[in-house]
Structure formats: structure tokens, C-alpha cells
Point group: C3
Chain length 410, copies 3
């Protein structure tokens, strides 16, 4: 009953990406002639891509039966770039866990998916990869890259996975109920002459669901500390500005299998709560708050057709900009933005392990100039051209892409 | 009929390398006394080396029978440094492919050997590794390093392998005829306000051969775009100098097995065609061309002796310098150079997988000062001392080396 | 009789580290009020750690029976960070060897443990890992980091392992006697115009022991060339200062299994011999010597308790500072330092491969200000705060830590 498995996925596609930026003008003046010469700019790329249907990976995993219903297990999984071979088993950043499981459930230690990620993947017909990936997941990743705690491993740390985590999973025999909680240690050093230590990098969250027959529904909540600066020097003197920022994610996903087709969807909200306190902290300090919100909804379906599977999804994410507690300027009165995305795909299964697939997707961005760092959703290719800092210039407008590939699991 | 294999080679040798530079004087003046104090400089090194008989590597590969004669396959292979362990499965830069094969042949996607490489390896008694490696391969690698498109993965990209490639192989049952073609995507971004996109990094080529009984012969042609700068700024203004450079390789290899010994050889030509156009491109622009040539020939043999195999090869590569379309100076009248190399080896097989081996090699360089970046063929150890920019100084003259090692395949 | 094995260890612990620095004053003056404000500073950290009971690793190894008692073998082993997955099969820096073995013993080539390391690991109840690791090993590692030859692979190169090594092991059937010798090539380039080449990076050493019944005893000696600068320029002119530094390690370890408990211990001495010769070398040159010594002793025991194993060790290392051949200042009269460490552990085996474990350890440093680079023994967490360059300030005083983890071998 013990096992040791080498496993992986080799997935490559010929992909095409195209991103279009369009001219915008938030001023009262007419645009200059030279600005109008570029009312639209398109960047495009044709490339061999990796993992557009299932992320390319190599891993080792195993379990050991310890008797008495107890088992030990490990799972080490590395992504790699199938198209170029540039990375191989460079890091186990996809998953690096060791577990103890039994009647009590499972205790899992190391680097693993965060609970708040699962609804973005499980209830996405596209599996949250390739040009058609769940728009909510794309934007959550962009938030983590732009605002999150960062990491030498993955820029979107704590959006998809967390290192240094302790996770607990409910046992499987709860009549369809399932659940998990996770705490990821921030691992920052505490100094005896400071009253506190930075919590930057900390994540905690949980996910609970119910799967029975055709129905699967789950809700998740998580909080990631993106910034938590302690600006007291070793001599006890206050210096600099203190920044505190937390990302709070709540999402709900569900699917229902009608047999002929399966419907699925997700609702998600990410709150980005930032607080800046100017120095000196002790007296006369000023605190500014800035609480942004990202509200998303996605609906999708999969439809078996012979050896194939048709897939479709439509999603929309709206950015609600808090102008902050400092007095807003006239130009900043409406700094919101939104994105919607339509994706269509077909997977032709040659076997359980091997498939040919095609996906097309199109994203459309409204008022992207108000938040190009996060709302500029490309599909994997070149970056949008963004100019003008929200006043007048070129802003992300739309992105289209396709993947046509071969996926082989081993 | 499906399979999953972990495989590799662990190969280490005690190697010695020695490179000698000698004084040259292209001026009419006598050399100074201090210059004559160093008429010859030798650098040498004794080292444990990796992969002198067969490149040290670890890989995963597998095939899946899809029925109806169709099969899927993958091949992920990483080199590693056996002597120091400094690199392990750091990149699948040796090969990272996923394939679909059947009666139609094989479609292969990812990073793979370029067609033009095979004749340099298959028809080299030394297998294009270690101190005795095919001189033509060494110089092709040097050209790619000095002039080629470059890559974060391997300096000699497109000389041995190409990333982002689509390859097609003829089926195997063609009465001895075999063949392959490859196209590697340059993956450069196209901008809507430019009429063209850079083709830098692109490779296309093919190889066709015939193997029947004792005879094997093959011809290959390939073209790699080493440089293709587009110097128009985003505002549409021409700026800078446009450089276009292409490396065209044609080679022919053959072997004939007389039973008592096997004869083999290769002819090769690499043309380096560069074109520089000064700015502004629109009017009054000047275009300079510079078309260099590298012509090589190699002859070798292998001779089975009991459990062992004696191997020998002799090769010569001549650099033919085009002085370019700008007026040449008097000193530049003859800027050609040449290298020849003799290699002798013995492999003592302890089993099919394990062998002890010894190789000695000597390369001799003529007029190395005219092209030290490419014609200075060391054998794996220290770099030559090169001074004087072709006028007077020290130039690469000769290199000697040996490997004495143990190769174990698994 | 041939084999190919994928193996590894996944080991993660919740660990806590705390390091305390305390105020010292080697001057005749009273400390200032601001200095006294920080008479003690503690830094602490709670973290998920990797490999606190057995280093987390993934490896490939195999043997091939060549007939006639001869066998070939290879062993490739990479460490990885179980807690974060940040490194995977990034380097085979734990071991990268290919071997030929038979009645004559074993010849082993590549990167391997140095003979002088084994006594620090085999006779340590804690296996030289985690917060309780052998103090002698910690300090040998610190010496190699601060004074050793350095390496892009591992800062403590030649203290634990050496690259580019040739090793020989005695055959196993010598009535309990065992032994090994190793030579690691420095691989520095020799220039024809210099009479010598640098030996920096060279290691040679050996270990011999006797294991029979309850007794195991072994002695080892090794020398590592930490520095060997050749400061003659290519034009033959002497420039700069020549530094030569060698680390000589001798140690003796023994264990005796009384059945109810097993006693073990180690004695060790590392001599750091440095010689600095000022330029010009030819005439009127000055040579300064500086010969430091590190003397260590460790005693430990393991006690089986049901499915568990209790472990304890106590160690002490004394730094004996040679003030060098230059005239010492009054303040430098006694620049010695010492560390002692107590470690207690318990391993609860769930199977042969899987265990829960707990370790606590405490190190106490005396006069750490005299050699903070080497004597400041933390236990894996934050660095000590060190100020004042030995005159007056904060110096490392004590460190405490614990690991509470899960180890799973596969």
C-alpha cells in the first residue's frame, strides 16, 4: 500500500497573443495631432507556449501506510518550460509538502495551494491556465504581483500558493462535506527592542464545501498581509513612513452536472486595505487609508461531444477605486475600471492522458488607464503599451489570443 | 506498450588542457624587446571534467500507445556537471519535447537538436564531446557564441539546438531514406506601427539521408537569423543603425562500415552574411555587407579491438574573411585563418553501459590573430591569451589535451 | 544485481530560534548611557524549517554488476527546501559521483563528502543537522565560510564536501578495519611565465577506523588550501600582497553500544595557518604569520525507549587566537573565545521511514566579540547583532532553539 511515483505533464501549444491599447483623454483640452497619430497601438506575438491546457510539470510523490489507518505522504512538484526547456526541476514551487493523514484528516506542511485559490481553478472550465484562464484568477494574480508580499519564488505568492504553511484537511468521509484551513508563517525576525514584529507574508484562510451527486459548491476566505513595515531603527528612533496593507479574498464557486452539460461559476471579492502612517509615529502623525475592491463573477460550462469536450466561460471583474482619505482631485472623481472576458475551447482526447486542444479568448478592458498594473489583462503574451498616468495617453483596451496544442500527462 | 523511463549518463574524466599563444607581427617595425620576452605563452590546467565520452545527463522520457498506430511521447533531458554537482536538473536544455507519431511520421514540439547539428555528431568518431570533439562542431559553436542569436539557456543556441521549435520527421519505413525539417519561432513582438517584426532567433532547416547496410550518408541545410534589429522608435522616428545577420550552414556526412573498421567524414560550410545600414534609413543611407565563410572537412574512423574501440579523426576548418564593402586597409589584405586538429581515442567497454576511455587531441591554429573569437579552438580548458588586435602581439597557436575517464550510463 | 533507485527525504519542522547579544567593554572607560540602554538584544524567529532531523533531498543512484566482482555505480543527490520549495534539483551539491568498485576497494570520482567530515556526523547523536547539530561541525562550517576557499556551490566547501575529487575506499572485508583517502583538484590555471600555480581549493585527507561489535572508532586528517594568491602580473612584475592560508583538520570519533544506551564522542582540532607576504616579493619583503587554533570536544548518547530514541549531546569548542607575528597591541592580549552547547532530542518512529521528532538546544558563547565571524554559533535562525569590533559593544552571548517536525524518507 506504499507507493513512489514519478509523474508529470508535457504540454505545448502554438499560441498567438495580441493586445491593443487605445487613446483616452481625461483632460478638457483637445489631444495634439501627434497623440492622434497613435489612436490605437497593437502588439502581437506568435510563440510556442508551455502548459496552455495543463501546466507542464515534473514531480515525485508517494505514500507510506503506517498501520492503524495512519499514512505518511510527500508531494514534490516542479513546473518547467516545455517550449524552451529553460527551467526544469528548478524549484518545487508548485508544491512541496509532507503529510500525516488518518481518521482525523490530514496535516500538511510546506508549500501548497492556498484555500482561496481552489474555487478559481475547480470551477473554471479552462482549469485556470492558457489564454482562456479564469479572469478572476488573472486579476487576483495581478493584484498579488502589484500589491502582494512578493517572493523570490513566485511574484503572485499567496494568491495561488503559500510557502512555510501548515494546513489541515477534514477527513473524506463526512457525507460530502469537505474543508481545509491553512496558516502560512511570515517568518520575520522579531527584535527585543521592538514591541512587535512584521507580519508581512502571513496568510491564513479556509475553504469549506459540499459535493454530492451532480452538485459541488464551496466557499473560501483568506487574508494575506502584503505589507507591514516596522520603521523603528535599532536605536529605537522612529524613521520613515509605516505602511500596512492586507489583501482579503472571499469567493464562492459551484458546479452542477446536468449530464448532457455541466454548468459552473464563481463569485469573488478581493479587498485591498492599505494604511499609510507618516513619521514621526509618536506625535502629530497622519494616517491615510486606501481601500480598493475587486468584484468578479464568472460563469462557464463544459459539454462532452464524443471523445471531445467543448468548454466556454464568460467573466467580468470590476475595480472599485477608493480615492483614499487624502482629498481627491477633480480628475480623480471616477477612477474605476472593469474587464470582461469570453473564452471558448475544445479538447479532443486521444486517450485519458493525451489530448489535442484549441482555445480562443478575448478580454475587453474599460477605463484601463485607471489601474493598468492590475486591470491590464493580457493573455500570456506581450505587455500593453500604457502611457499618460491616467490623464491622457494610451490605455489597455482589449486582448485576444489562441492556443492550439498537444498535452501529454505521464 | 506504454513506458516511463528515468535515464542518464554519469561521465567523469581527469583531463589536462594546454593552450599556447605565439607572437606575431603584422607591422613593418621590429618587435620591441619586451614583446620578444614573451614569444610564447602557455596556459594549462588539470581538472576533473564532466561528459568527455558522453555528456553527463539525467532525463525522463516515455511513450504512450494511442491505438491505430498513433503514439504520444515526451523527452525531457537535463545536462549536469558530474565533477562538481554544480548543476543538476537546472534546465531541460538538452531536450524538452512532446511528440505525436504514427504512419505519417513524427511531429515534435519544443526544444530539440537542429537538423544541421546531426552530421557533426553522428559522423564524428568522438561523438562531438571531450577534447577530441569534431573541430567543425567546435567552430560552429564558436560562431554561434560570437555571432549567433544568443540565449539565456545556451550561448551556442541554434548551432546545436533550438527552442520553440516545430519539427517533422519522416516515417522510418522508407527503404533506408530518412529525413527531418525544423522551424524555430523567433517569438519577437510585432508592433502595429512597424511594417515588420524582428526575425532574430529564427531557425529553419532540414536533413535528409540514406542508411542501408554498411552505408549511411546525409546532407543538411539550415539558416539561423543571428541579428535583425528594427530601429524605428515607437513614435515612428528612425534611430540608430540597422543590423541584419544570418548564419547559413550546409553540411554533408557519410560513414561506411567495412566490418574490420568504419570510415566516416563530414564536409561543412557556414556562411556568415551581415548587413549594416546606417541611419537614417529613409534617405542617403549607406549599406555595408560583410560575408565571411568557414569551410571545414573531417575524416575519421573507428576500429573494434576486442572489448575496445580505437578511434581517430583529422579535421581542418578554413576561415575566409570577407573584408566587407567598406574600403579595406593595407594591413587587412589577408585576414584569413585556419585550424586543423588530430584526435586519437580508445574506449574500453566494461559492459554495454560502462566504459573506461582515453582521448588525446591536438589543434593547430594558423593566423589565429585574424579571428580569435572563433578560430581560437581550445579543448575545454583555459582561454588563449590574445593581444594586439591583429596588428602585433600574441595570437592563439596550438592546443593539446587529454581525457582519461569513466563513463556509466543508466 | 543491477539497480536504479529514486530516493529522498522530505523533512519539515516548526522551528524557533532565538539569539542574544550582550554588552561588553574592553576599554578602561565607563560605557555611555546610550550603550547601556541596550545591555542585551535578542532576535528571534519562528519558521517552518527543512531537514532538521535528516536533510531534505532527492537523488538518483544505481549500481551495475560488471562481472568478476567488479561493479560500476553512480550517486546523484540534491538538497531541496521542503518548507518553501524554493530549491529543487538545483544542484547535485550533496553528492555527484561515479564509481568503480571490486576486490581492490572503490574508486570514486566527482563531488563527495571529505573524509574529515564523517566523524562530525557519524558520532553525533543528532546526525549533524537541526538546532542540535554537533557544535564542532557548526564551527568547522563557520571557519570554512569565513576563511575557506569558497565556492559558487556551497560556502562551506571542503569542510563538508569537495568537488573535483578523486577518492579511494578500502574494501569492506578487512576484519572491521575501514578507510578512505581523497584528493580534490584545485583546477587553477598554470601560466608558463610563472614558476608555480595557485593551489587554492585543493583538499587532501584520509580517514581510518575500526568497527567491530559494539565498538566503532575512527581518526581523520585533512588539509584544505583556503588561499594561495599568485600576485605576479602577466608581464612578470610583482604586484600586491601574497596571501597563503591553509586549514588543517584532525579529529577522532568513537562510539560504544552498551545495548541499553550508546555512548559516543568526538575530539577535533582545526589549525588555521595564514601567511601574508608584502610586496615586492623579491627584496625587502615582510612575512607575517597568523596561526589560529580551534579545539573541540563533544560527548553524546542515544537511548532507545520503545519505538522512540532519546538523544543528548554536550560539546565545547575553544578558539585560541594567535596574535600574529606583528606586534600585538595592549588590548589584544587575550583575544580567545569559546562556545559550549547542550542538545536534547527525541525521535518517535512511526515506521522505519517516518518519524515525529523534537529537539531543543542551547549554545553559550564566551568572549564572542573576539571572533564573531566564526564563534557566533546560531542554530539556524537570525544572525547575532555584533558591534564594536572587539573594543566595546554588543557581542554574541547565547542561542536557543527547538525543532518539532515530521521526517519522511522515500
Amino acid at each position: 500500500q506504499s507507493s513512489l511515483t514519478l509523474f508529470g505533464v508535457a504540454d505545448t501549444a502554438v499560441s498567438h497573443y495580441s493586445v491593443k491599447s487605445a487613446f483616452y483623454n481625461n483632460t478638457l483640452a483637445l489631444p495634439s495631432a501627434s497623440a492622434l497619430a497613435f489612436t490605437e497601438v497593437t502588439r502581437s506575438q506568435t510563440a510556442l507556449s508551455s502548459g496552455a491546457n495543463s501546466s507542464s510539470r515534473v514531480g515525485f510523490r508517494g505514500t507510506e501506510d503506517l498501520g492503524g489507518g495512519l499514512a505518511a505522504g510527500f508531494w514534490l512538484e516542479s513546473g518547467f518550460t516545455q517550449d524552451s526547456g529553460a527551467t526544469a526541476l528548478t524549484s518545487f514551487s508548485r508544491r512541496s509538502t509532507v503529510s500525516l493523514s488518518g481518521g482525523f484528516g490530514e496535516l500538511r506542511l510546506g508549500r501548497d495551494y492556498v484555500p482561496t485559490y481552489w474555487n478559481e481553478s475547480v470551477f473554471d472550465p479552462m482549469g485556470a491556465v492558457g489564454v482562456g484562464e479564469n479572469l478572476i484568477k488573472s486579476i487576483s494574480g495581478n493584484i498579488a504581483t502589484a500589491r502582494g508580499p512578493g517572493s523570490p519564488i513566485a511574484a503572485n505568492d499567496n494568491a495561488i500558493r503559500a510557502s512555510n504553511s501548515v494546513g489541515y484537511f477534514l477527513p473524506r468521509n463526512l457525507g460530502g462535506f469537505y474543508g481545509q484551513v491553512m496558516y502560512a508563517l511570515p517568518e520575520n525576525v522579531k527584535h527585543s527592542y521592538l514591541s512587535d514584529s512584521s507580519q508581512r507574508g502571513r496568510y491564513y484562510g479556509g475553504r469549506f464545501g459540499y459535493a454530492n451527486g451532480p452538485l459541488d459548491v464551496a466557499v473560501a476566505y483568506g487574508q494575506s498581509t502584503a505589507a507591514d513595515t516596522l520603521v523603528i531603527s535599532e536605536a529605537g528612533v522612529v524613521a520613515g513612513t509605516r505602511l500596512s496593507e492586507k489583501l482579503r479574498t472571499i469567493n464562492l464557486g459551484a458546479s452542477y452536472d446536468f449530464g448532457v452539460l455541466k454548468l459552473m461559476g464563481e463569485l469573488s471579492q478581493v479587498k485591498d486595505k492599505a494604511e499609510t502612517t507618516t513619521a514621526p509615529l509618536s506625535a502629530g502623525r497622519l494616517t491615510f487609508t486606501d481601500n480598493d475592491e475587486y468584484n468578479g463573477a464568472m460563469i462557464g460550462m463544459t459539454l462532452p461531444v464524443g471523445a471531445g469536450l467543448l468548454k466556454a466561460s464568460y467573466a467580468r471583474v470590476k475595480f472599485k477605486n477608493d480615492l483614499g482619505s487624502a482629498a481627491p482631485s477633480l480628475l480623480a472623481l471616477d477612477r474605476d475600471a472593469s474587464v470582461n472576458k469570453l473564452a471558448l475551447g475544445y479538447v479532443h482526447n486521444l486517450s485519458k492522458r493525451t489530448a489535442l486542444y484549441a482555445t480562443v479568448a478575448r478580454a475587453r478592458i474599460k477605463n484601463g488607464q485607471n489601474n493598468p498594473a492590475i486591470m491590464a489583462v493580457g493573455l500570456g503574451g506581450p505587455a500593453f503599451l500604457s502611457t499618460g498616468s491616467g490623464v491622457a495617453g494610451l490605455a489597455p483596451r482589449s486582448a485576444t489570443g489562441y492556443d492550439f496544442g498537444l498535452r501529454h500527462a505521464f
